[in-house]
Amino acid sequence: MIPSPLTRALDRNARIFLIVLAVIAVAVPLSNLLLPPSSPLHVPTYVVSLFGKYVCYALLALSIDLIWGYCGILSLGHGAFFALGGYAMGMYLMRQIGTRGVYAHPILPDFMVFLNWKELPVYWYGFDSFAYAILMVLLVPGALAFVFGWFAFRSRVTGVYLSIITQAMTFALMLAFFRNNFGFGGNNGLTDFKDILGFNVQAQGTRVALFAISVAALALGFLICRWVVTSKFGKVLVAIRDAESRTRFLGYRVESYKLLVFTLSACMAGVAGALYVPQVGIINPGEFAPANSIEAVIWVAVGGRGTLVGAVLGAVLVNYGKTFFTTGLLAPYWLFVLGGLFVAVTLFMPRGIVGSWQHWRQNRRERADAASADADAAPAPRPAE
């Protein structure tokens, strides 16, 4: 019997991971809302928001792992898609402020009144509708990725060159968004949000709900990635990663495959950004900084590229480490740790945490198989790596 796509996508590890996510999505909100603060199992709201942030980063890491781990496209500009999704959500949230802003203008956000603008720019139209904003969260990063990828992949810009021009892309966007007359709040970005879909963004219930939604989005993103990489499409992606020219000579249109997966990945990054903004309460051009994008790549490298679960784990672990280090006495040493992590992971653990673990387990199983085979016959030569 041919397994259905869903059972194929959900191997044992994936099922365990999804169950863990489901437990977190249910247990954390319940503990926050139902248990009294004195209880040792109570999760304070600020921790919920903090981990909500990590979950968004995890979704971003997942989107990077999809293209880097399975298709060999190292994007150093994925933070741009994340930030664009965030800006789309931020624009919706700005329009929701309405007359509660400092200048109490019914339509224009505060920074436009401050800049003496008389009318809402055309590209801000429609962002008072949540559905439209969600559409833009997917469309804007997707469209940018499509156009960028269309040019880049068709002219066979690969490897390091692609990495460098993606970095240039996010750098150019950062410079653009820093401009006041670009219409996105310039240096200060978008902030001072009041409510989302009528719920106060500061309220405990909203924060907890956003956390649960983020976990759900992460689970959905994980499912989509699993589905992609276990499908025939995914096999071609891996083939492109390992031998691009050979795949092309076999008759596959490499650029189309790359373009599709790059666009999908950008949409996921956009969603991650959109969930991130209401939880941290601000989006500014600093999110476009090339350093952020490179940092996101290291999350994936730490967790293990090409493992999906590893990307999530890496994002949460590195960011938890960052919070731990930068809030204490050790703050000045965080960059040493992060820099050391970059070097150590690439030198000593190129497979990442999850990758190394899988490798170790596979080796052990092979040894066990070989040992049982020994009983029957002479030892077979080990296959070369």
Binding site: A172, G340, T346
Partner: protein, 536 residues
């Protein structure tokens, strides 16, 4: 007039000059000084004009004293004193220091804007006739700016006996500025003035010419119009030249920052994200050298950059070799991993410098031969920019020579072209790798010495150059130093020509977008390597 007569006249003038002793001169100043004692603004103004007209050599000192509040009046005796800059009290009329106690109740002559204007004009007139050509030139320029019609007579007098061409030119321009603004000047004078201003041909001349009223006589008006368009086209030409110069300057900075990367990335293929930090290390080396010189031997300060250059090369080069030996050599053939590892190294280096020197900008001084500027036409060229262009080209030429003519260069090229074959003929390839990386890093360090002169020396210095440097190398074509040169200057000049239309930030964004599009068209840069090695 016979020769004898001339000689007699000269003699007479000489005698008159000798006779003009201080006491005799004091006579001519006396009435003006007594008006000063009244200390009303009208009297002060009249007195200043009288002093200026007296031709007394002390006149300039007295007027300067008024301007600086050092001219004191004793209301009781109505005597006037000058307190010199050194603080000695002198009698204004005789210029002799007064004996004994200073009289009580001295007060300074008051100033208002009208008096200040009078002082300015008077000083202009006095200095127009000064013996020092530099002061005359300065004064003529001041009159050109003030267009004070009262100075016309003095200007014409000065013009008649001026011999220095530069001063004469300035005086003629000053006269033209006054004449053009004067309602009762004759048509010929005005036409001549317009011609003079047309020859000057800068923004000030344009402003003056545009001030010619449209009801002026048709000849004057037409001349003014044609002069305006001539000046405008001249200004446009100079603006183009200026943009090109700024572009060359920016291009040299880009080239300087990218040239080391052209070795590590271009020749070796190592994606060195820590390249910017090598530049930063060079800049901090300069800072340390200057601090040491300030502390131990301030006289050497003008040589600080020359001392810093080899040291910066050594520091950055050694750090580069250490990085290559400890990290990069394990990652050859894995460019994306190299990228991540070197990014990590860049974070560590930044934080190390921040810990050692603090997060704030450090002051790196400029030696005297690098400060100041000179004018070429309407273009002002600062020495530090000029030196950086010269320095960049020198570094570039040295590097080319090193690759072309030395044994190390030969071995480097051999290893890049065919590693196995190079190893087979006995080249120690791993040593060459380390040396090449060290060379690239060292050159980045040298770049840091130069960039410390025009940029803030902070731990983030390298970050601001890394993306630009990669753009230059990729744009110019990897593995080709000439490509880097052309790429840097093309980007620099393109950026400066876009700036007037698009603004600085938008210009930079446009350049980035153009490069991204360009790479689509020519993925291997302007001067792409040809042949089989391309796909490797």
């Amino acid at each position: 007039m016979t020769v004898f007569h001339k000689m007699a006249l000269a003699l007479l003038l000489l005698v008159a000059a000798i006779c003009a002793t201080p006491a005799a001169r004091a006579q001519s100043l006396e009435p003006a000084l007594s008006r000063l004692a009244a200390d009303t603004f009208n009297d002060t103004e009249a007195a200043i004009n009288a002093i200026a007209a007296s031709g007394d050599p002390a006149a300039a000192d007295i007027i300067t004293a008024i301007a600086e509040g050092r001219l004191l009046v004793d209301p009781a005796t109505r005597k006037v004193y000058v307190r010199t800059a050194a603080g000695v009290l002198q009698d204004a009329a005789s210029g002799q220091p007064i004996a004994g106690e200073a009289p009580a109740g001295l007060k300074a002559v008051r100033l208002n804007n009208r008096v200040r204007r009078a002082i300015e004009a008077a000083m202009g007139e006095l200095t127009l006739l000064s013996r020092d050509p530099g002061r005359r030139l300065e004064a003529a320029r001041a009159v050109f700016k003030s267009r004070d019609s009262g100075a016309l007579a003095t200007i014409e007098a000065a013009l008649a006996k001026e011999t220095e061409p530069a001063v004469k030119q300035a005086l003629a321009e000053a006269r033209a500025a006054i004449v053009l603004n004067k309602a009762d000047a004759s048509e010929e004078d005005k036409l001549e003035a317009i011609a003079t201003l047309r020859g000057r041909g800068d923004q000030d001349a344009l402003a003056l010419l545009s001030g010619v009223p449209s009801d002026a006589p048709p000849a004057v008006h037409n001349a003014a119009q044609s002069a305006i368009s001539a000046v405008q086209s001249r200004l446009a030409l100079w603006e183009t030249i200026q943009n090109a110069w700024y572009g060359l300057s920016l291009g040299s900075v880009l080239l300087l920052a990218a040239i080391g990367l052209a070795i590590t990335f271009g020749v070796m293929g190592v994606i060195n994200m820590a390249h910017g930090e090598m530049v930063m290390l060079g800049a901090y080396t300069t800072f340390v050298v200057q601090e040491l010189i300030r502390a131990y031997n301030p006289g050497l300060f003008d040589y600080s950059l020359a001392i810093a250059i080899p040291l910066a090369f050594a520091v950055a080069g050694l750090v580069g070799i250490a990085i290559e030996r400890s990290v990069i050599r394990f990652l050859y053939g894995r460019p994306l991993e190299t990228l991540l590892a070197t990014w990590g190294i860049s974070l560590i280096l930044q934080q190390a410098v921040r810990t050692a020197f603090g997060p704030t900008n450090r002051e790196v001084g400029a030696p005297s031969w690098m400060s100041g500027s000179f004018d070429v036409g309407l273009l002002s060229i600062t020495y530090n920019r000029l030196w950086i262009i010269v320095f960049t080209l020198a570094v570039f030429a040295l590097l080319l020579a090193l690759l072309r003519f030395t044994r190390l260069g030969l071995e480097m090229r051999a290893v890049t072209q065919n590693r196995q074959m190079a190893a087979a003929v006995g080249i120690r390839t791993s040593r060459i790798d380390a040396m090449t990386f060290g060379l690239g890093s060292g050159i980045a360090g040298i770049a840091g010495v130069a960039l410390s002169q025009i940029d803030n020396v902070s731990p983030n210095l390298g970050q601001s150059y890394i993306i630009d440097s990669f753009m230059v190398v990729v744009f110019g074509g990897v593995g080709n130093l000439w490509g880097t040169l052309v790429g840097a200057f093309t980007l620099g000049i393109a950026n400066k020509f876009l700036e007037p239309f698009a603004g600085a930030v938008l210009g930079k964004i446009l350049i980035l977008v153009l490069i991204i599009l360009f790479i689509q068209k020519r993925p291997r840069g302007l001067f792409a390597p040809k042949g089989r090695a391309v796909e490797a």
